[in-house]
Amino acid sequence: MSNSSSNGMGTTFIVYAAILAIAVIQVVVALTMGPSLGRMLILAAIQGYLAVMFFMHLRDEKSTLRLALLPGTVFVLVMMNMIWADSFRLIHLRPFAK
């Protein structure tokens, strides 16, 4: 939060309102169009981006810190997706079916 004191709180209030608005949109979308995983994840990712960049002030930090933190985390999250093939295979085995 190196430059947080120099920034006004105006941006913070806008981000706060935006995050809450997205939370309401999520619920409205889920109620009207059905809660598809893709739509929910996209809206949550936007909320997360706003929180990390503006509330946690990562955008004000040096780019070296962003480079140290983000690529490794994204790599781990991407690699976790390797499990899906296995979980879809299990559909046909129906391990928990009665």
Partner: protein, 211 residues
Amino acid sequence: MSEANMVLDQVAEHGAGVMEERPFAIPSSKLVMWLFIISDACTFAAMLFAYGFIRNSAAEWPLVFESASIWNALLMTFILVSTSLTVLFALRAAQNEDRAGAFKWTMITAAGGILFTLLHLREWMSLIGEGVRPFQNPWGAPLFGACFFSITGLHMLHVAGGVVALIVVGLGYRAGRYATRHVEIWALYWHFVDLVWMFVVPLVYLLNMKR
């Protein structure tokens, strides 16, 4: 402020030319908090992936959350996001050396965390009252309870831990034992707790909504 903290602050202020610049231009304690946050983010991600795996592989999955639970989750979101704002007020006050203001906003944030936890416990009690247990429930897919309680329980544990930390730091900052950077570090943690909730609500609540 303790002697060690005073020495650290003096080095930070007057250490130019004596020490090399910090590679990331942040105190090492803040870097440690960032490292903790990304590792904890991976932990939560792993739990959410495990939930997705179990849900995919279940023959049928219960859609249990009625509109009351959804509105309760939205209220909890409002409270948690608002506490992210109040913790920023606390940090701003601390940066302006306003110890009373920083203490006040830190305590308001902690109170919001307690309210969030109580609402969450109410949700838990409601589900437990309906017969949901970690390995059984009335609707099939026995691991539904395990997924719900483990993900939301771990998040609730983080909120409770954050409340304790904020109270300790708030009191310590008011008494002069802690510096602004301590408030900043725990504000960072509190935002992370908020960030996790932004993914828990759509994936755990909205995807399991009654249709």
